[in-house]
């Protein structure tokens, strides 16, 4: 686990640098989110959203999905590939023309696994098929949140840059309610293909920048909106979660 220790140290270094505003290869910060939609050809009537907060080389991932095959383990990952198209696969990615997309066939679109969204333990690509540690989607629903996920700086940067995708695997092509069928997985020949074929996918995209130009001034000065206290943004953006909320409340009463 030498690699893990090195990554942890890198993360520590970034944490030290960030408050000083010193630019560095480790310092990637940003919020990205994805709308998870059914993967082409695979027929999952599922949807969801995923949000990733990147702070240096540490990720917090929050994700909800529904309509998945219930009570079956669903491997979920963040995918990225420097050579990939950085998008979700299309029907044209069905290399063998069998009318279904395997995880491998989606590779040219979304790349390889960079983070395994396990519920416990290791989150590296090595846990990509650790089915005992992924959500089993009771009722077809997944509600997932995990912080303190550490990644390499280049991965953190790719995520912030909107180049990664969240993929939840596990479909039910033959609609018999379980992972089954003669086709075996391209990732693990002991598993049915249904267990690993991608179900939903969404590119993690950066939030819009800045506000909205939503007025012409024709009512300016009529005082319609002056009752609302002006709040600062920069300070708030630096905080997170409860911290930001608290800061917002404090400033609102100043």
């Amino acid at each position: 686990m030498r690699t893990t220790r090195r990554i942890a140290l890198a993360g520590f270094g970034a944490a030290l640098l960030l408050p000083l505003g010193v630019g560095s290869a480790f310092a990637a910060d940003g919020d990205v989110n994805a709308n998870l939609t059914p993967v082409a050809l695979n027929g999952a009537a599922a949807s969801g959203t995923a949000m990733v907060k990147v702070e240096g080389t540490t990720l917090t991932v929050t994700m909800a999905a529904n309509g998945l095959l219930a009570d079956a383990p669903h491997a979920a990952h963040i995918h990225f590939g420097a050579e990939a198209r950085n998008e979700c696969p299309a029907a044209s990615d069905d290399a063998d023309g069998d009318g279904m997309l395997t995880t491998t066939e989606g590779g040219p679109a979304y790349g390889g696994i960079v983070v395994s969204l396990t519920k416990t333990g290791d989150t590296s690509p090595a846990s990509g098929l650790a089915v005992d540690r992924f959500d089993t989607a009771p009722g077809g629903e997944i509600a997932y949140q995990r912080g303190s996920i550490t990644v390499e700086p280049d991965v953190a940067q790719a995520i912030v840059d909107g180049k990664s995708a969240v993929v939840i695997h596990g479909v039910d092509h033959n609609e018999d309610g379980v992972y089954s069928g003669d086709a075996m997985s391209d990732l693990d020949p002991t598993l049915p293909a249904e267990a690993t074929d991608p179900a939903v996918c969404g590119v993690l995209m950066a939030a819009p920048s800045g506000g909205v130009a939503a007025g012409t001034g024709s009512t300016a000065g009529t005082g319609t909106s002056t009752g609302v206290m002006l709040l600062g943004g920069g300070l708030l953006a630096a905080g997170a979660g409860a911290g930001a909320l608290a800061a917002r409340r404090v400033r609102a009463t100043v």
């Binding site: 090595a126 089915v131 005992d132 506000g211 979660g241 909320l245």
Partner: protein
């Protein structure tokens, strides 16, 4: 692709029996923890759930990885099953995400407190410049297509003009919204997502809290209603501030 290939070498750990056992164990655990439908947390959920899973889930593995020079195969069949069951119960509680609706595009917006009743919403697609455009029709609200659909987990965004060439526009009274006011978003699937306003803020556009408004700062389905406000800068032709109303889904 190469990463997936790499897993082939590890497929030995996924012997079918181990998979079945582990899944059964995890399932029992999940069912045990997840009694009924999720309820809205009574305390501010940001404080409650952001901390728990992060710290709890992250610490033990990290400590193990750092402390022991040579850790056993982290995803081995027996080991994983034994490790996962007890630790999962203690360290990875299911996040409390509140009510969440499936994907379905918004088709109407009703905000009784400020007289908004629109049976159409424009699609607002973020441009190459990364900016969320305002609706082209001053009488219509628009929704941020790259964000969650209203009702899905995360911050759904609906923007509207405060005024147009002919005077007041659809969100002229947005700044009057009060905590507790209701916002109803009709959706293409026939459902209505009902949100309750938590607070209303005014932010300088030059100092816009992008993360607060669009970012991963929530762990429930929320909505942001955005319009302009503050002083009008005649030299730029724009208001200097944005008004943002924050709300969360109640059903």
């Amino acid at each position: 692709m190469s990463d997936h290939r790499r897993h082939d070498g590890r497929s030995r750990i996924l012997a079918a029996a181990a998979v079945v056992l582990a899944v059964a164990g995890a399932l029992a655990l999940v069912l045990g923890l997840r009694g009924g439908p999720a309820e809205m947390p009574t305390s501010p959920p940001l404080a409650a759930s952001t901390e728990g899973p992060s710290d709890a889930a992250g610490s033990p593995p990290a400590a193990a990885a750092d402390g022991s020079g040579d850790r056993a195969d982290p995803v081995g069949p027996g080991g994983a099953a034994r490790d996962a069951a007890p630790t999962a119960a203690e360290t990875a509680p299911l996040p409390e995400l509140g009510p969440i609706l499936p994907a379905s595009e918004p088709v109407s917006l009703t905000i009784p407190a400020i007289g908004v009743a629109s049976d159409t919403l424009e699609r607002l697609d973020v441009g190459p410049d990364g900016v969320l455009p305002a609706p082209t029709d001053f009488a219509l609200p628009g929704w941020h297509t790259r964000g969650p659909n209203p009702g899905q987990l995360g911050p759904a965004v609906i923007a509207g003009h405060v005024d147009g060439p002919d005077g007041p526009a659809v969100f002229i009274r947005l700044g009057e919204l009060q905590p507790g006011d209701e916002v109803q978003v009709g959706r293409a699937d026939g459902t209505v997502a009902t949100f309750v306003i938590d607070e209303v803020g005014r932010y300088a556009k030059a100092d816009f809290p992008t993360s607060l408004v669009y970012g991963n700062t929530t762990d429930r389905a929320e909505i942001r209603l955005i319009t302009c406000g503050g002083a009008f800068d005649r030299s730029t032709g724009h208001y200097v501030d944005n008004i943002v109303a924050f709300g969360h889904l109640v059903g």
